[in-house]
């Protein structure tokens, strides 16, 4: 079971969180024309990297905040967690 450092609450057990997918996916802007390719990429196309991955987690049984986690998908090592407003480089 992972141990995740919520940027708002601190280290908590994985049980308290829900996974939310790739954090680098950007939704096309609302009320703007978008090409079919761009839209389909946004809705369906995801990379599934082995190794470092920046992803979203939601502290559903805690502060209810979504935030970013940089995790190694092979080893589960977590390098960094950050608020949505912060960048992970």
């Amino acid at each position: 079971m992972l141990h995740i450092n919520c940027p708002f609450c601190g280290l908590r057990a994985q049980k308290e969180f829900a996974y939310g997918g790739d954090a680098t996916v950007k939704r096309p802007e609302i009320n703007k024309e978008v090409s079919k390719e761009e839209w389909d990429n946004f809705v369906y196309m995801r990379k599934s990297p082995r190794g470092k991955h920046i992803e979203l987690w939601h502290h559903i049984s805690g502060c209810r905040q979504w935030f970013k986690v940089q995790r190694d998908t092979a080893t589960h090592e977590i390098f960094k967690t950050a608020k949505m407003s912060e960048e992970i480089v």
């Binding site: 992972l2 096309p28 839209w39 946004f42 809705v43 369906y44 905040q65 979504w66 080893t75 949505m84």
Partner: protein, 998 residues
């Protein structure tokens, strides 16, 4: 009764407490502090089971977690459990055990015929034989294998025992209380670290209890007792015996299995039987020690062949002799200590040492004690069927590949030692890649992967001096990193026998005549010949050899067999062991009970139960409940002997004719506030929201980005920047997460806050033609006329002094209202409604009637909004705005979503107007067509229409628009029904929607 093999003045058992137990129908006696194994051995019982494949007689090999054979069916307090390791379970009053895998008895087992047919049971037997003919598998082979190869019987009774889970955090977890565990825990505790020390056995001390050493001029046992008693006084230390750390998971999470009550004959009602600990440790010390491995020889599975360390443990801990005429068969010095222990107890051993004429401290001591030693010797075959009677021994040639001479000597046990294998399972589970240590020809942990450090014998360090020193150092270093304290430790002085080099010898050659089985894996009955076959047939990878032969795949995880198996493969393949590699170690290290995994989460405690404030009233009024997620909702209120169908018809009919009330508290409710709330709703829902006036509700549909409907519900504008959203009961949590996702991640610039208020409001729907009359009596001061409170209107008022929200919304299709009050007043509201509703023939109605009402109206719900439908599919395209953008809009333009013949919701009636159509039925054109019969759609919801008095269903059908008037068959292979149906409009009642506006 005399315990024939019990010694008088040795052992740590409590001789004042005699315990009577039963084994295979016979009564025996042992002492408190015995294991079932030691008590049986004390009575001279070696034969405890039959082997898995060949049903060969088997006895004890080990004295603890290493035991591969002695798995028994054990009954304590009426609770029966299979596969209990006799070497681990403690003796308690009333314990009763039976052998497994034998019929009719362990003494005479019919399956043993397999042993004489063994040429038919080689490696890969199951793969090869039972593959053909395929049709035989279910009817012939599988039942046969199941009956013949059973490993005990699971109880069919409900487990009445209590199990618990515990979550713990600590600075340092130490797994194993041998010398390395004790010293490191002690050093860490002295530095003020929060330490948990886990010991699998009832007694702390590990090998200190049996090894002939001294520490600070105390015996190993006395020193361990001194350390333990000091640790017990320290508030920062948790000592746990009978506790096995069996799994090493991510982020330094360890799981430990504690046998809390198994050894207590009178445990209190609330004492759990076992407890599962989830321990998150900052640092972990793996002091798991090592396990002796056997040397492979002919018939080495005969009862009476035991590990030399086990023989010593039975003497020193339990005061039990495994035999009176022992052969000590070894390739190293450590087994000499077992010989010395026999000698001390007046038993004359003979030592067979595979090493050539050898000199070392222990050899000298043996000679001084007058013990007979034969160098370059080994056991070739153990003779005797149910018990060792003699042994054919032989002198090895110089290259040790053949025999110079053989002879037979009498013996009643063979104590074998093939050197030591570090217990690296936990290190391996942590992700540590193991490395092969040539010196001890075994794997030891390599670089730490997580925060784990392996020390002592588990790390291949077999001298006490070295172990104690490194343990003090490691315990002190790891803890001072955490506590910043650095207590000076005085490293104790150690006296121990210096061991010389061992012989890298692991398998005896076969005699010239005879071909006895030489077992590598006892629990899975894998012999040397099986591994040879696997290699001959082309299996090369050790993982493949493992699966083909089942080597190391039994519940003992190959603790005694792994390395011998690897040696075997490497010899035949002419590779060195590290090139062959090792198989993967996976948790659990030892079998654990299902009860512990489940813990308290059984029955009603499986998940939380959510009850509405009116729950007790429903219960008192004969409600039959249904689970809606975690909620309990009344399905119907039973009157007399009514069936579900009769009751729901009555309740639904009463709504259509008079008025009914329904507890709708479980609907998801989300409070939405902020200056951008309208804009946010406009993006979330498919329809327009910017112009909704204050005091009005609107029905909305929200999509996922892929265009599928996520949920529907009404949202009401309470004030300028304040909305009250409702969701379906099932989707409430998902919708809240969805809204938070968009507000926090996608559009953080929107100034809006959302919070769940589901539990803050109790809700009741009042539905039926008389609902307005009833409402006016509930709110006598309020104008509830159609003009003052029109359809989709909203008013705040008070219900006899209680603040209330009144929404004019309808799910039933009737004139209807929904009243919300603060949860605490829910029951008050409900009782007032029941009281005032009497004159209007008000009746409460449950979810079954609720479904009936919405289905015959053609209102969609969960079964239609199943994550695979877009708005057009369920005739909600009128709610999809063409002008504005919203979540999922771009997907609706997809080609497949705009096809003319796309699936669509329709209504169905059976042509006989009688047969109810099972939900989930498939719609086909020809009920008799050959399979696969093309499916044209499926039945999503079914009811008995109270308006038309016949069955009615909703269905999603291909090209639904053009199917009206056609006839199809609704077939349900599950219910074995096929019903001819006529396709009609999904709006079966009041298609113009006049009633809701009346």
């Amino acid at each position: 009764m005399r315990q024939s093999h019990r010694l008088n003045n040795i052992g740590l058992i409590n001789r004042d407490k005699v315990i009577t137990f039963n084994f295979n129908g016979k009564s025996y006696q042992g002492y408190e502090g015995d294991t079932l194994a030691s008590a049986l051995l004390a009575n001279g019982v070696h034969l405890v089971g039959r082997s898995f494949k060949y049903h060969r007689p088997r006895g004890f090999i080990g004295a603890g977690v290493d035991e591969p054979n002695a798995k028994l069916q054990v009954t304590i307090n009426g609770h029966s459990e299979p596969n209990i390791n006799a070497t681990e379970i403690e003796l308690v009053d009333g314990l009763s055990a039976t052998s497994q895998n034998c019929w009719p008895s362990v003494e005479f087992d019919i399956g043993a015929i397999n042993n004489f047919l063994k040429r038919f049971f080689p490696a890969g037997f199951y793969y090869k034989t039972f593959m053909w003919p395929k049709s035989f598998w279910y009817k012939v082979y599988e039942p046969f294998i199941r009956k013949a190869a059973g490993l005990g019987v699971a109880s069919l009774e409900k487990d009445k025992e209590r199990y618990e889970h515990k979550f713990e955090y600590c600075d340092l977890l130490v797994t194993g209380s041998g010398p390395s565990g004790l010293a490191s825990a002690y050093a860490a505790a002295k530095n003020g670290a929060k330490v948990i020390l886990a010991e699998d056995k009832p007694r702390y001390g590990g090998t200190l209890l049996t090894d002939d050493v001294s520490i600070d001029n105390m015996s190993g046992k006395d020193w361990s007792e001194k350390i333990i008693s000091e640790l017990k006084t320290m508030p920062n230390v948790t000592l746990k015996n009978r506790s096995q750390v069996f799994g090493y998971y991510d982020h330094n999470m360890m799981v430990m299995f504690e046998r809390v009550g198994d050894h207590l004959s009178n445990k209190s009602k609330y004492t759990p039987r076992q407890r599962l600990w989830y321990i998150r440790a900052k640092e972990t010390i793996l002091s798991t020690g090592s396990i002796e491995r056997p040397i492979v020889f002919g018939n080495n599975d005969t009862p009476g062949v035991v590990l030399s360390s086990a023989a010593k443990e039975y003497m020193k801990v339990y005061g039990v002799l495994v035999g009176r005429k022992p052969i000590i068969f070894t390739n190293n010095d450590s087994a000499y200590e077992t010989a010395f222990e026999f000698k001390k107890n007046n038993v004359e051993p003979i030592i067979l040492d595979t090493r050539e004429e050898h000199d070392s401290e222990v050899v000298q001591e043996a000679k001084n004690k007058g013990i007979q030693i034969k160098f370059s010797y080994g056991v070739i075959v153990a003779n005797g069927y149910k018990k060792v009677k003699s042994a054919k021994i032989g002198k090895l040639t110089k290259d040790k590949k053949s025999l110079e001479s053989t002879e037979t000597i009498n013996c009643d046990c063979i104590c074998v030692s093939g050197f030591w294998t570090p217990t690296v399972h936990l290190a391996s589970q942590s992700g540590n890649k193991l490395k092969f240590d040539e010196k001890i020809d075994a794997f030891i942990p390599d670089k730490s992967k997580q925060n784990e450090k392996t020390i002592g014998a588990a790390n291949g360090s077999f001298t006490l001096q070295e172990t104690i020193e490194s343990a003090f150092k490691t315990g002190s270093e790891l803890s001072s990193k955490i506590t910043d304290k650095n207590n000076e430790n005085k490293i104790p002085t150690v006296t121990e026998t210096k061991y010389s080099v061992h012989d890298k010898f692991w398998c005896m050659p076969l005699p010239k005549n005879g071909n006895p089985k030489r077992f590598v894996d006892f629990q899975n009955d894998v012999a040397v010949s099986d591994i040879e076959i696997a290699l001959r047939e082309g299996y090369r990878s050790i993982e493949h050899v493992k699966r083909y032969t089942t080597l190391g795949m039994a519940t003992d995880q190959g603790r005694t067999s792994n390395l011998n198996g690897l040696q075997m493969v490497s010899n035949i393949e002419n590779k060195i062991v590290p090139e062959v590699g090792h198989t993967t170690f996976r948790p659990p290290f030892t079998p654990i009970t299902i009860g512990t995994i489940v813990g308290r989460e059984v029955g009603m405690e499986f998940m939380p139960t959510r009850k509405t404030p009116m729950h007790d009233w429903h219960e008192k009024n004969n409600a039959v409940f249904v689970d809606a997620g975690a909620w309990k909702r009344p399905r119907y209120y039973k009157q007399g002997n009514e069936t579900l169908l009769e009751a729901s018809k009555r309740e639904a009919k009463n709504v259509r004719e008079n008025v009914g009330i329904c507890d709708v508290t479980t609907l998801g409710k989300i409070d939405i506030k902020g200056p951008d709330a309208a804009e946010f709703l406009n993006r979330v829902y498919t329809n327009a929201w910017l112009k909704l006036p204050v005091g009005k509700a609107r029905y909305g549909v929200m999509l996922r980005e892929d265009g599928m409907i996520m949920d529907d519900g009404t949202t009401t504008r309470i004030s300028e920047n304040h909305y009250h959203m409702t969701t379906t009961t099932a989707q409430a949590a998902n919708v809240l997460s969805h809204l938070e996702y968009y507000l926090q991640i996608v559009w953080p610039e929107l100034n809006v806050n959302v919070v769940s208020t589901t539990e803050q409001w109790a809700g009741a729907a009042i539905a039926g033609p008389k609902s307005r009359d009833m409402l006016s009596k509930l709110f006598p001061d309020l104008d509830v006329s159609n003009e003052a409170l029109p359809f989709m209107g909203y008013i705040e008022s008070n219900l006899f002094g209680v603040p209330a929200r009144i929404f004019r919304i309808s799910f039933s299709g009737e004139l209807a209202y929904e009243v919300n009050v603060e949860s605490n007043y829910g029951l008050f509201m409900w009782e007032k409604m029941m009281e005032i509703g009497q004159e209007f023939n008000n009746q409460p109605y449950g979810t079954e009637a609720l479904s009936t009402l919405r289905i015959e109206m053609g209102h969609v719900a969960g079964p239609e909004l199943d994550g695979r439908t877009i708005p057009q599919d369920v005739s909600l395209d009128g709610l999809v705005s063409k002008k504005k953008d919203f979540i999922g809009k771009n997907s609706l333009g997809k080609e497949a979503f705009t096809l003319e013949n796309r699936q669509k919701i329709v209504g169905l009636v059976p042509t006989d107007r009688k047969s109810s159509i099972p939900e989930g039925s498939h719609l086909v054109e020809n009920e008799k067509a050959k399979l696969p019969n093309p499916k044209l759609g499926h039945v999503s919801s079914s009811c008995w229409s109270v308006e038309n008095n016949n069955p009615f269903s909703l269905a999603i059908v291909n090209d639904g628009k053009n199917m009206i008037g056609k006839k199809l068959f609704a077939v349900s292979p599950l219910k074995n029904t096929s019903i001819e149906v006529e396709i009609i409009s999904s709006h079966y009642v009041d298609p113009e929607g006049k009633r809701v506006r009346s």
